[in-house]
Each structure stands twice: as C-alpha cells, then as structure tokens.
Symmetry: C2
Subunit: 311 residues, 2 copies
C-alpha cells in the first residue's frame, strides 16, 4: 500500500508523512505520469491548486483517499472522486482564526493606509516633513459578510468588537446576535460600506461578486477577499478600482495565482497579499496533522475526520 | 481679543478657526517671537509636539486657554499653565476607536508579516515561486495592556474578540470582564505574549517600558506601542530586537519624531508607522470640532468640555 504526497511540504510535515506512511513526496501532479507501480497507490496527500480531475484519478486505480491540505478543495473534482469511490477530505476549522484575523487586519490596513504609511516613513518622507494624506476610519462602518460559514462567522464576531453594523448573505437565514440577513449579494453590497468575501470556491460561486455587486458598494465602499479569486469578476474589479467607482480593495486571493493580473500592481487603492490566509507555523502544523489523521483513518477503514464527499 | 492657532491645520479646520474666531494661523511656536500685539492674545489653538513651557506662555500675558489638538498634552507644561491661570484642554475619546483599531491591526500585521508579504508579492517573488517563510498566529495569544485607560480599554475589548487572554496594568484594579490585574509592568510582561503600551506620555511614564520589562516578554514576545515614544527605553528596545531577545515590535510612536532612530529601519522584525493613530478624516474632523468647542466655551466664560487642568 503506497502513499503519495503531492506538493511542497514543510520539513515537519514531510518528515511525518514519510515516518507515519512511508510516503513518497512529489512536487506536482506532472510527476505522476512517469511513476511506475501506480496501481499500488492507495492514498494521496494533496497540497496544490492544480486541477485534480477524473483523468488524473484514473492513473491511480487503487486510490481510496485524497487528503487535501487546506479547507478549499475546489481544485479537486469531487463528483469524479465520488464516482470512483474515492474519499476526499480537507482541513477545515483549524484555519478559521488565521483567515479571520487576516481579513480584519486587511480591512483596517486598507482603511488606514498602513502599507503606504510605512513606505512613506521608510523612504524618509516623515523626516523630510512631506505631507501624508489622512486615511479613513474603520470602526463603526457597516460591514457585509458574503458567506456566513465558519470563517465568515469568525470574521463577523471580530468585526462586532469594532462596533460595526453587520449584514450577511448565506444560503438561509442563520441564528445571529441581531445581524441583518440579505438574500443576495447585490442587496448586501448596497446595504454596507465594506464587503468581506467568505464564500467557498468552485463552480457554484464563480463570479458571484459580479460587476453589479461591486458597483453596489459605491464610491466609499471597499472589498476584502480572503476566499478564492474565482469568486470575484476581476476584470470588473480592476475597472471599478481604476475609475474609483469603489474606494479600494484588499485581496489575499486572485484568479490566476501566483501570476496575478499585473494591473493590480499599478493601482494605489489596493492592498495585495500572496494568499497567506492560513500561512502561520501554528495553523499549518495543525492542517498537516489533520491531513495525516484523515489519511490514517481512511487507510484503517475508519470514517474520515473531515470528509468532503460521501462514498 | 485675539486667537492664535499654532500648527498645520487641515483646510476644513483652518477655515473654521478663521471663520469662528478670526484666528491667525502660525506654523510653529517660533513665529510667536516676532508677533506684535501679543498682549491681546486670549486663546491658543495648539497642534504641535514642540514644548510649550512657561517661558512661551509669558509671551502671551493675556492667555486664558490653550486648546490642544490631540489627547496627549505632554508637550504642554501643565503646572506652568495652571500657575498662570491658563485653562488647558485636549481632545480625548473622539480618537479612541482609531487608535485602538490601529493597535489591533499593527499587532496582526506584525505577527502575520503583512508588510514583508506585500513587498514580496510586489517584487514578483510569488510569481517567481520563491519561498515565503510562514508567519505566526495572532488569535488566542496572551496579551497585556499597559494602561487600561479609555484607549487601553478599547484595545482590550477588541482583543477579547480574538480569543485572547487579557492582562492589564493600571493605577488601581478596575471593573473588567475577568481580565487579570498586575501591579507593575514587569509582572505584566512576564505573564503575556504581546504587550500593548497605552499609557499617557509625560514625566510620570518616562521609560516605563524599561529593559527589564522588554526582556520579560521573552523571545516569542512582541511590543506594540501606540502611546508615546517617551514611554519606552528605545535603546533597550533596539538591543532586544537586534539580538532577537523579543520577536518583534510594532511602533506608531518614537522618542524623536519625525527623526526616528535610523537603526529601526535596518531591523527585519519591526513594523514602523509615522504616528498615524488618529490620522483619519473622520477623527481629525471631530478633534478639530472639539478643540474649537473648548476654545468657544472658555472664551465665553463657560467650563471647558474636556479640561486637563483646574484653574
């Protein structure tokens, strides 16, 4: 019974995968093609954004489990896995705090223009007495959470401490401490100042933050995306930012990572991060541990801890 | 009855000072020396970090009120003002949210290495596939608030939403939702991971964050200062950062602003901001309005709205 691990793992995770499972670690899916003895592969530890579809699965006919490193599994064709009886798992919850922390800091950093202010100081402009434009206040703004799942709720809980009026969209109305439910993203965007995108990725949410939604935010509105680039119409966002139809955007995720649209770099009303939502030593260690627990459970014939499909 | 305004005012504030008080606006205290008819000056709107001492006050023998723009009035010699029967006022409370927002964002940005991450993206390193070191988690850490005044409490209230265990120092134990009181800064620093400095400035708190306090934070500790540079032993802080005796520092204030110690710029474990705690259009407008309300009240023989001395 062979275990493969695809992706770039930390030393700690790589060591644990080898020790606990005798795993072979391959940098990417491309390396599968030249691999001999593929029939014996029963488990795949997966840490990549590259599409893992039915054709790839068919190269590993003995595959029982794909344990994804990360909560978002939009790179994996779930129906194809289910059709082949392959259990897919992910690593939810352990990263909620990190992603929510980052979302809140991105929101404040954008409003307060922290990145430009630090550059201004480091360039010596303060010392030279050059003027620095005033920024904008964060606390007390009306905020919208698009997708009140586990991460969305962590964001909302934090924003409540910043005296924000909280609005949200989710598939159905939820039990909340008085937050306002909206049935669709445009109505949500129209009701708030700042919109946090916390939807899952995948085909169902593709382009959910459309031109209409973006424009509904208005000239004082900002967009914060810590979910997936696919959720946002990036062309519409670039136009809105360039023409100052919204005030700004703070983005940790992009459509084509890591080859982000270079037009973002020319804008002065964006905060741009390289998908670091869960990139802390603490959380990545927990994600790795949960990935291995899922592998172990399925290989032992036990239920997965955090399954994403039913097989 | 003449009103002078010292400092660099926004167009909005300058216009209001001229309109409401016929104020003359001077860039700095140095301009007082050459001013004729100083005897008629009854009120000073003050927006500067330059020392305003008894000798300066004696140049304006008819002065009744110094209305400071800002909550911190450590630049003004309060006993000297009191001895001369001059009412000093400040602009508290209206900036609490802004300063607390910034403190929380600085704390997360430092832990999550947001500034280096944005630079890394903008330099093209993501696109080139260069490795980015993992950062550290913010939520759930033990935090200390040195000075649980109005701003300190706003910081603590926000940190509670980040699942932090909260410790504090203040002159006496306060009514809190279960936060832990410490009698001194060293005990506080030893009990927490991250220390937020929220003391008032001035001689009483000079160097309160001593080498001993800094070292008590330990190698995983961080320091966040949004109060006054004078509160921290900067030499000790530079040594601790350079030798990695603490993990990092996020600083919005410095001993010698705007000529900050250039050794800070060479460190890779600091976040450095140019004293932007209250630098938002919303809050600066409120501060200006409160400054003028104080001027108006005292000139009309009414009690000041937010006095800092008793005359």
């Amino acid at each position: 019974m062979r275990v493969l691990a695809i992706g770039t793992y930390s030393d700690l995770d790589a060591e644990a995968l080898r020790q606990d499972f005798g795993a072979e670690i391959l940098p990417g899916l491309d390396d599968l093609a030249g691999l001999s003895g593929r029939e014996a592969v029963a488990a795949l530890a997966y840490k990549s954004g590259a599409a893992l579809d039915g054709a790839v699965m068919d190269r590993l006919p003995g595959l029982k489990v794909i344990a994804n490193f990360g909560v978002g599994y939009d790179a994996i064709d779930i129906p194809a896995a289910t059709a082949r009886g392959i259990q897919v798992t992910n690593t939810p919850d352990v990263l909620n705090d990190d992603v929510a922390d980052l979302a809140v800091a991105m929101w404040i950093a954008l409003a307060r223009q922290m990145y430009p202010a630090e550059n201004w100081l480091r360039e010596g402009a303060w010392h030279q007495g050059r003027p620095l434009a005033l920024a904008r206040k964060a606390s007390g703004r009306r905020v919208g959470i698009l997708g009140l799942g586990r991460i969305g709720r962590e964001i909302a809980n934090r924003l409540a401490a910043f005296k924000c009026e909280i609005h949200y969209v989710s598939r159905q109305e939820k039990e909340t401490p008085g937050w306002t439910y909206h049935a669709d993203a445009t109505s949500l965007a129209a009701a708030v100042d700042d919109l946090f995108v916390a939807l899952v990725g995948g085909p169902d949410t593709e382009g959910a933050v459309s031109a209409e939604v973006i424009l509904a935010l208005g000239a004082d509105g900002t967009l914060i995306n810590i979910a997936r680039g696919s959720v946002v119409d990036e062309e519409a966002l670039l136009q809105a930012l360039g023409n100052r139809l919204i005030r700004g955007a703070a983005l940790d995720v992009f459509r084509d990572e890591p080859n982000i649209d270079r037009r973002f770099l020319a804008l002065d009303n964006v905060l741009l991060l390289p998908h670091i939502g869960s990139a802390t030593t603490e959380t990545r260690a927990e994600m790795g541990a949960l990935q291995r627990q899922n592998l172990r459970a399925v290989l032992d014939g036990q239920p997965a801890l955090t399954p994403v499909n039913r097989v």
